[in-house]
């Protein structure tokens, strides 16, 4: 199943999630032990091991392929193959004189080897850009390739990217996903290449076997370029096995029976079944995702701000959270509180059905015989879409339907799956839609609520908001970004194209013995940094 989205913004509904765990990492007093196998459940039908063309979050792929930089547990970028994350301060980013373009320089680590033993160099980085940009390559994630005009490689360990624009979010695209080996792939057709089965990367693990519909076996790369702080050769684990188990009941059963050690996206409703399962530890943490109820502005009744505000007051987040096992965290802004850009003064719509009813009365919507309001013969009756088969989402939908009924609004479930769902989502085949977005460490909000936003299926357009997005998304100045982001949050809360309901979490089941596991809240998945994981005992 694929999404029509760029990788920056992934439809969480269909994808394996990842989480953050907002606790300090406790350094173990014992020495880390090398060895052991970790069996991980993948809850989707893995299509390809190529990180650029997979339609899913690249869980398994990230253990094999590394990028120049990567987001850490706090969604901040840290260097991987690059020696440092380029910034204005360290001279890695240089703006052109008129401020319309930028140049980004990466200095690469020098002792990095591909799994076949060949050295990793700047030529590989340039090749990756060219390969992904190539129109013949059918890739899910081509973000950022068009923003670069040219790449210079003055020596083997320096990469200079000449951008044709200023992109504050450059880090969440392209080179972060992973680098491909030029010496093996030059001239290959990446659509049908062997690379999609057994990619060669620089990561701590290498693919030994990928059996479609069954599993991927990733074995330790003994010549991995990084060592621990104590000088141990990394990674510690001998083997990571990703088993494809798409049925959530079976996933839980296998965790209970010990056939699986770990799963990173246990459905909320199933988490309680794992309590007391021997050797299994449940970790819950926030995720860069948020649940939202969107309005379709092509429906004239929903284009009425009074109706939207009434809906906002009719929703009781507490109940919605309760039906999801109590896991999600209520929010009032689409910018999640863990981001610097979050503005706590964003106005909030409290649960107040009386106020909602009063608003609708005032707007002239009177209750008909069946309790549903209408005005001028138009009933407040809406088609409500969620992705079918997602138990958590369907539960939320049922509660919202009941809550709307309280204020005389009728919502009828019109659920869809796969491409039909996406079609509805992007072409506005709904009146109300509930869904969840999961984003990278630096979300681009105009894709959701900008007039031209590629994820804006609502027909929503607000020129004032577009101007704010323009300022927010084309500057590297932190203060200016913060000011624009505040303005954005206030406008969205006032104009209410959508109601931000709660921040998602993901429920991770892991073995008690697995140490150094640090959940990652971003779309780069929990497997972006597996090198220091080890099994104790």
């Amino acid at each position: 199943m694929k999404t029509k989205l760029t990788r920056r913004v992934v439809l969480q509904g269909i994808l394996a999630g990842s989480t953050a765990f907002a606790t300090m990492r406790v350094l173990p007093t014992m020495a880390q032990q090398a060895g052991g196998t970790l069996n991980v459940g993948l809850t989707y039908e893995l299509d390809t091991m190529n990180t650029y063309s997979t339609g899913f979050l690249a869980d398994a792929q990230h253990t094999v392929i590394e990028g120049l930089i990567a987001p850490d547990k706090d969604a901040r970028y840290v260097p991987v193959l690059a020696k440092e994350v380029p910034t204005l301060e360290n001279g890695g980013i240089v703006l052109s004189e008129d401020g319309s373009k930028m140049t980004i320089t990466y200095h690469l680590n020098e002792n990095v080897k591909w799994h076949d033993g060949a050295p990793f160099t700047s030529a590989d980085v340039k090749f990756t850009w060219e390969a992904v940009k190539n129109p013949d390559f059918i890739a899910e994630s081509k973000d950022g390739t068009q923003d670069i005009d040219s790449i210079d490689t003055p020596d083997d360990y320096t990469v200079i990217c000449n951008y044709n624009t200023v992109k504050p979010n450059f880090a969440s695209t392209l080179f972060t996903f992973g680098i491909m080996p030029k010496h093996l792939l030059e001239g290959e057709d990446l659509n049908t290449s062997w690379y999609n089965e057994k990619p060669i990367g620089t990561g701590p693990f290498m693919v030994s076997e990928f059996v479609r519909g069954q599993y991927v076996v990733c074995d330790k790369f003994p010549e991995y370029w990084r060592k621990s702080a104590d000088g141990d050769q990394l990674p510690y684990l001998d083997r990571l096995v990703f088993r494809i188990v798409t049925d959530s009941n079976t996933l839980v059963t296998q965790l209970q029976s010990g056939e699986l050690d770990m799963a990173v996206s246990v459905p909320y409703g199933r988490a309680s079944q794992l309590e007391g399962a021997q050797g299994v530890e449940i970790i819950v943490g926030p995720q860069l995702s948020w649940g939202h109820l969107d309005f379709n502005f092509r429906n004239e009744l929903l284009a009425d701000i009074a109706v939207r505000k009434a809906v906002a007051h009719a929703i009781n987040r507490e109940t919605l959270i309760r039906v999801q096992g109590g896991f999600p965290i209520p929010i009032k802004s689409l910018v999640l509180p863990l981001f610097d850009l979050y503005d706590d003064t964003t106005p909030e719509y409290a649960y107040d059905p009386a106020a909602a009813n009063a608003m609708l009365d005032e707007a002239g919507f009177a209750r008909g015989g069946d309790g549903i309001r209408e005005k001028d013969g138009k009933r407040l009756s809406f088609a409500f879409v969620v992705q079918s088969g997602r138990a958590d989402d369907e539960n939320v939908q049922q509660v919202i339907i009941a809550q709307l009924k309280e204020i005389g609004i009728e919502a009828t479930a019109d659920n869809k799956t796969g491409v039909a769902y996406r079609e509805a989502r992007y072409s506005g085949g709904y009146d109300l839609i509930y869904g969840r977005w999961i984003t990278s460490a630096d979300p681009v909000y105009s894709t959701f609520y900008g007039s031209e936003g590629e994820n804006n299926g609502q027909g929503y357009s607000n020129p004032e908001l577009d101007a704010v997005f323009e300022r927010l998304e084309n500057t590297l100045d932190a203060d200016e970004r913060k000011a624009a982001a505040s303005e954005m949050q206030h406008i969205i809360a006032e104009d209410l194209p959508a109601i931000a309901l709660f921040q998602g979490v993901s429920v991770i089941a892991k073995p008690v013995e697995l140490k150094n596991f640090v959940p990652n809240p971003t779309n780069m998945t929990n497997f972006v940094d597996t090198k220091e994981w080890y099994l104790e005992g």
């Binding site: 694929k2 950022g144 798409t246 049925d247 079976t250 059963t253 590629e454």
Partner: protein, 317 residues
């Protein structure tokens, strides 16, 4: 029954399959969305790049042209590449067919071994307590949801007792006969449950019908024992209606048991079909559906041959 007959039937199936392919191609195109939806709204994929991708798969052509291009390639054995995985359609299907045939085949054998004697005994002892019990169990079997039974078996045999792996096709690095057997027992049992139940009902009613015939009374009058009468005189005749049902069920099995495969993480055709459907993987879907259609045609021919084998009065020429 002659070889010429079979050849003629197979040749006769060609226009049928052609007709089916036209209808399938049209239906797939009618479903909302398409395989390139993923890229259509991606700002990094320019209009030109999108056009190039479409041209690569021939998706820029009018639908009838696309159909003839597909047909032309298929006639020389080229089923194209999966848009989702980039692998040849035929490779993917062949790879998934093995596990599906193993699972389906074993389920059919289990079903036959249980359904035939059960159906016969119920018919011979019609109205007895045994018959009543079998009838109740059959309806319970037909009505039991597959995923529920699967879950109960998994909890009992994998979690509680730890005897069997709860899911999967084989252990990594093993794949020996015993290992495969341990993996297939539960899904095959679950898959055969509903078939056992329905087949035994068909065999029972067929037997009851046959047991009322004059030639059965004649056989008894000649002094043949009950077992001999049931096996040699009644069963063959009673199997004729059952063969039709079994042939239809065989096609279902080839097409993959989506729920059983999903619950037991079995890498079969059913799961492949679901993935391809969700991604609107046109070449893959055409390959899978044509294979299903071919299976129906073949199963029908085999059923006809079985009729003749069971009943010498039926002749084809």
């Amino acid at each position: 029954m002659s070889l010429a007959y079979i050849v003629r039937r197979l040749l006769g199936a060609i226009p049928l399959l052609l007709g089916i392919s036209v209808i399938l191609f049209a239906i797939i195109q009618l479903a909302p969305g398409g395989p390139l939806d993923i890229y259509a709204e991606n700002p990094s994929v320019s209009k030109e790049a999108l056009a190039q991708i479409a041209a690569r798969y021939g998706l820029d052509q009018p639908v009838p042209v696309q159909y003839f291009l597909w047909l032309k390639a298929v006639l020389v054995g080229d089923w194209g590449y999966s848009i989702r995985t980039g692998r040849p359609v035929l490779d993917e299907i062949v790879y998934r067919l093995g596990p599906t045939l193993q699972l389906g085949g074993l389920a059919m054998i289990i079903s036959l071994l249980i359904a035939v004697p059960v159906g016969m005994i119920s018919a011979a002892r019609r109205g007895s307590k045994l018959d009543g019990t079998v009838t109740v169990l059959s309806f319970a079997g037909i009505s039991t949801p597959v995923f529920w039974l699967a879950l109960l078996l998994q909890l009992l045999f994998s979690v509680q007792l730890g005897w069997l792996p709860s899911a999967g096709y084989q252990s990594i690095g093993d794949g020996s006969f015993i290992d495969r057997l341990r993996h297939i027992i539960m899904p095959a049992s679950v898959l055969s449950l509903a078939t056992v139940a329905s087949w035994s009902r068909f065999i029972r009613s067929g037997m009851i019908d046959v047991l009322n015939q004059d030639y059965i009374r004649t056989a008894y009058a000649k002094g043949r024992g009950e077992k001999a009468v049931l096996f040699f005189h009644a069963l063959r005749n009673a199997m004729i209606p059952a063969v039709t049902v079994i042939a239809v069920d065989f096609v279902t099995i080839i097409s993959g048991a989506v729920i059983t495969e999903t619950v037991f993480a079995w890498p079969g055709i059913g799961r492949l079909f679901m993935e391809s459907m969700d991604g609107r993987d046109y070449p893959m879907l055409m390959g899978l559906m044509m294979m299903g259609s071919l299976a129906i045609v073949v199963a029908n021919i085999v059923a006809d041959i079985c009729y003749a084998a069971l009943d010498p009065r039926i002749r084809y020429d």
